[in-house]
């Protein structure tokens, strides 16, 4: 048998994403939604499960749920019902979580993801195809509190419970089991996160726990159409962990199946250090939560009219933007994929492209050079000192041949960190490329004199040594000659038109 389980088995993966909604207050109480406050500073008696309290729905979440429904081509249900999911855990003070069960607010949709073409590997820039992933449903629910298990900071034994998070509004978004690899799973998560941010439903910051993922994984023999028994890996809180956990679970399940064993339906945890999944508990049946309609809450009724109002207000979505960028600016798919990762980056691009009137150059500068600067500093584009107009003026200087690409690249980090006017910086530092024909001719003559063999090849019609000669001239010019002019003079002088 081959070593790679993927030769024999096809993974079938579905994801459940919990995303915190962008609200000021909680789902059913007026307590503030804040991150990083001291324990139990953002709680209302409703969040504490005090007797006699009544939950009242936050109206903002209705609009947010509708936005998500529309952005995922789903049905927004005009009637949905809140239900109690009953279980006991210390960070769930009421003994039940208010969720939606049989009648969720959103159902039956899809989103599109870009997946690498088979065999082209997962390296960046590989050829991709678009794949449609079903969204089974999305329902509103409240988050639980936080259990702090390793209480190294305090003297007391036991687990600490902080209920600041209890009652924070969530949408749980459940995908169809349409994903077939860890790479597809993380592509789906990225696409979903990008949509959530575009439509301003969630900040979806994984580090703050605003975007968490459970993965359902099963294997089946290649060619089989039946699903195998699945396991659910809980609480994956980074893209790397989602991929790592799925890959580890595929290995674990394939080893059991290879030995003729059976997969037990179970809830799994992911051990990040060992990169292995382990069984937390054998799966309880859904019935064990004893869902029933919450008698404190009346069914949520949504007017068709409201859905249309929200639809009219929906911003351009990443996929639509991408298509438009490709058509309007003639940009390649790899570049537009990067430009639309966030609305802010896409807006920056469009402002910059407009200001420099060179959309392709702007796209390349942003998708490559600027993106690298941002990644190195872990910054979003609007968190830097660089304005779209400044980048546009830098690009113009390069396009006009007044600044070499090399010099422009050297100015970029400073523009990102401190801002400034590229033209003034260029003049102050004497970086302006020399376009003076007399000086360029002098350098070109020297280089032609010293590189007879290369010159001979070029004269014979071979353009390849031209780049080498260009490099020599630029070196002689201290990197500050107008490259277009240099190339022109080299050809003219060697081939005898000058």
């Amino acid at each position: 048998m081959s070593d790679n389980p993927l030769d024999r088995y096809e993974p079938v993966i579905g994801l459940e994403v919990h995303t915190h909604l962008k609200t000021e207050s909680k789902l059913f109480s007026p307590a503030p939604v804040r991150y990083g406050d001291a324990p139990n500073h953002d709680v209302h008696p409703i969040d504490l499960g005090m007797p006699g309290v009544l939950p009242v729905l936050n109206e903002k979440v209705i609009g947010l749920a509708i936005r998500l429904g529309l952005a995922t081509h789903s049905t927004v249900n005009t009637r949905s019902v809140f239900a109690r999911k009953n279980y006991f855990y210390p960070d769930l003070p009421k003994g039940y979580q208010i969720s939606q069960y049989e009648e969720p607010v959103v159902s039956d949709g899809w989103i599109e993801i870009e997946v690498p073409v088979k065999g082209s590997g997962k390296k960046r820039g590989a050829e991709t195809v678009t794949k449609r992933i079903g969204v089974t449903r999305a329902h509103l629910e409240e988050d639980a509190g936080k259990s702090i298990h390793d209480v190294a900071l305090s003297a007391s034994e036991g687990t600490h419970i902080d209920l600041n998070r209890a009652g924070v509004p969530l949408l749980e978004i459940v995908s169809e089991p349409d994903l077939r690899s860890s790479v597809e799973a993380s592509a789906y998560l990225r696409a979903l996160r990008s949509i959530l941010r575009y439509i301003e439903v969630s900040d979806a910051d994984m580090e703050k726990g605003q975007f968490r993922c459970d993965a359902n994984v099963s294997l089946r023999l290649r060619g089989s159409s039946e699903f195998g028994t699945r396991t659910e890996i809980k609480n994956l809180n980074s893209f790397a962990n989602v991929e790592g956990a799925i890959e580890a679970e595929i290995v674990r399940q394939s080893e059991i199946l290879d030995d003729g064993g059976e997969i037990q339906q179970a809830t799994m945890g992911f051990d990040v250090n060992r990169q292995r999944t382990r069984i937390l508990r054998l799966k309880e049946n859904a019935d064990d939560y004893r869902y029933f309609d919450d008698p404190d809450l009346i069914p949520l009724l949504i007017d068709e009219e409201l859905i249309e109002v929200v639809r009219a207000d929906l911003p351009e979505l990443p996929e639509q933007k991408r298509e438009r960028f490709e058509q309007e600016y003639g940009l390649p798919g790899e570049t537009t994929a990067i430009l639309v990762t966030s609305r802010r980056l896409a807006d920056f691009f469009e402002n910059c492209a407009r200001a420099c009137n060179a959309p392709k150059a702007a796209a390349n500068w942003i998708a490559r050079d600027l993106r690298q600067e941002l990644n190195e500093r872990n910054l979003a584009v609007d968190e830097t000192r660089l304005e779209p107009d400044a980048l546009a003026s830098l690009i113009r200087l390069v396009e006009e041949g007044r600044l070499t690409t090399k010099s422009a690249r050297e100015l970029l980090p400073e523009l990102v960190e401190a801002g400034g006017d590229p033209q003034a910086m260029m003049e102050e530092r004497g970086l302006e490329a020399v376009s003076d024909t007399g000086m360029i001719d002098e350098w070109v003559t020297t280089v032609i004199g010293g590189n007879a063999a290369a010159v001979e090849s070029v004269r014979g019609g071979d353009d390849k040594p031209l780049n080498f000669l260009m490099g020599q001239v630029m070196k002689a010019a201290g990197g500050k000659a107008n490259p277009g002019e240099v190339r022109k003079r080299l050809v003219e002088m060697i081939r005898g038109d000058g």
Partner: protein, 106 residues
């Protein structure tokens, strides 16, 4: 009594399982009595099955009201001292409970 239990859908095991899920510890006698009584309740409700509900929309709630809503405005939480005032144990405004194994639920 035996005949009644046999008729109803509920078994001893159902009662034990339900008690376990509700974290209730029942004695043998209590389980016996519960099985009987719950069986009677179910039998009673069973009578409703005889009614014709064809074409009637299921009722999720008895009150014919639009969903009551609240604007998304935050007001400060209650005094954290008060939040933990009734707790058997607290530490720096966190509730303290007996050690729980990580990842049990959530």
């Amino acid at each position: 009594m035996l005949a009644l239990c046999a008729m109803s859908r509920i078994t001893r095991e159902d009662v034990e399982r339900t008690a376990d899920l509700a974290r209730l510890s029942l004695s043998k006698d209590e389980i016996e009595a519960m099985t009987h009584e719950l069986g009677q309740i179910l039998d009673h409700v069973e009578q409703l099955q005889a009614l014709d509900t064809e074409g009637i929309e299921p009722t999720a709630h008895a009150i014919p009201l639009a969903t009551p809503l609240r604007p998304d405005r935050a007001s400060p939480g209650i005094d954290p001292d008060l939040a933990v005032a009734n707790a058997p144990a607290s530490d720096g405004h966190a509730f303290v409970v007996p050690k729980v194994i990580d990842g049990e639920e959530g």
